[in-house]
């Protein structure tokens, strides 16, 4: 039903427009350095309000969160870099100010598992893609109530 042909040129044009628009949108062509306020805000999003179970200091309006925000602001203005600021806050509050467990040791598991799953999925795709096609025999399953709704327009009729 749909045209079985497509014009590669239209697709190339589409990709070019897409890439250009995304590059502009991603800020590739403009660069304003991050202001102190932006740096502080980014750090605030990474730190936990010590008196909460998982709220960041950017989101919490408790007194403890305000105290952390104050310290972040001060240290950013003093010109310290991100890891120094996080370290000094950790020295004062311990783990209670971190939104992600401290690196190393068991925390590796938190990142290893998603990565491992991703690799497994990629492998599964590759293996299935390389499989030889099975002969198109009539399968023994029930031929009846399977799904008319998935192809009511006869798009897959010739499959």
């Amino acid at each position: 039903m749909a045209r079985a042909t497509t014009h590669p040129l239209r697709w190339i044009l589409l990709f070019v427009i897409l890439v250009v628009a995304l590059s502009i949108g991603a800020g590739v062509f403009s660069s304003t350095p991050q202001t102190n306020a932006q740096r502080a805000a980014a750090l605030d999003a990474r730190l936990k309000a010590p008196d909460s179970n998982g709220l960041s200091v950017a989101e919490s309006n408790s007194a403890a969160a305000a105290a952390v925000r104050q310290q972040v602001r001060t240290e950013v203005n003093q010109g310290r870099n991100d890891s120094e600021i996080v370290a000094s806050l950790e020295a004062r509050y311990g783990n209670a100010v971190l939104l992600t467990p401290p690196a190393g040791g068991l925390t590796v598991l938190l990142w290893a598992v998603p990565l491992g799953l991703l690799i497994l999925i990629a492998l599964a795709i590759v293996i299935t893609a390389r499989k030889r096609r099975l002969p198109a025999v009539a399968s023994p399953q029930r031929p009846s109530a399977s799904d008319p709704a998935s192809d009511p327009n006869g798009e897959d009729a010739h499959v």
Binding site: D51, N53, A64, A67, R92, Y93, G94, N95, A96
Partner: protein
């Protein structure tokens, strides 16, 4: 052949998942029921922060005046479930210690709560030891308190020696405090 191989795949996959689930259940079974655990406070081994202010009854309290005694500092709130659980235990501990010579002193600090609510809580629970107010949360901030109940043990020299999060029992506190009060008596 294919049938046997695929049945092995299924069996092994099931066995693998079974092992993981059993590990999970063991982990959760061990954790069921929360109790106080030590937590790595950066204060441990350092001098306790200067802590003073008005108590809920209007008196003035200064931690430095307790130098020479072991002090147990407990951050609590009236809305906190585990705090309600442990309060009878803390009362019992405080009473026992008060009967000893050179026993530990208990101090409570209101955490993220209204004074009126904390006072009602204290009255309902029959708390007899001083309870410091902390409007604005400055004291909690300097001690680095994450959530109640958080309890610190300060030895006679004013150094923080232990930190706990979660509800404690009188028995545990007695055990924890014993070496420091004994050292105090002897030294």
């Amino acid at each position: 052949m294919r049938q046997r191989r695929s049945s092995r795949v299924i069996a092994w996959t099931a066995a693998g998942i079974l092992a993981l689930v059993v590990a999970l259940i063991v982990l959760l079974a061990v954790r069921t029921g929360s109790t106080g655990t030590t937590f790595e406070s950066p204060l441990v081994g350092h001098a306790a922060p200067a802590t003073s202010g008005a108590t809920l009854t209007g008196a003035h309290f200064d931690l430095s005046s307790e130098r020479g005694h072991v002090v147990v500092v407990n951050f609590f709130a009236s809305w906190c479930g585990p705090c309600q659980e442990e309060q009878t235990q803390l009362n019992a501990f405080a009473y026992d210690q008060s009967q000893k010579t050179n026993g530990a002193t208990m101090l409570g600090v209101v955490f993220n709560d209204r004074n009126q609510a904390a006072l009602t809580f204290a009255q309902n629970q029959g708390v007899t030891y001083p309870l410091l107010t902390d409007e604005g949360g400055q004291i909690a901030a300097t001690w680095g308190v994450a959530s109640p109940p958080t309890t610190y043990v300060v030895d006679a020299t004013g150094t923080v020696v232990k930190a706990f999060v979660g509800p404690l029992t009188a028995k545990v506190l007695d055990q924890v405090v014993a070496p420091y009060t004994e050292a105090n008596s002897n030294g």
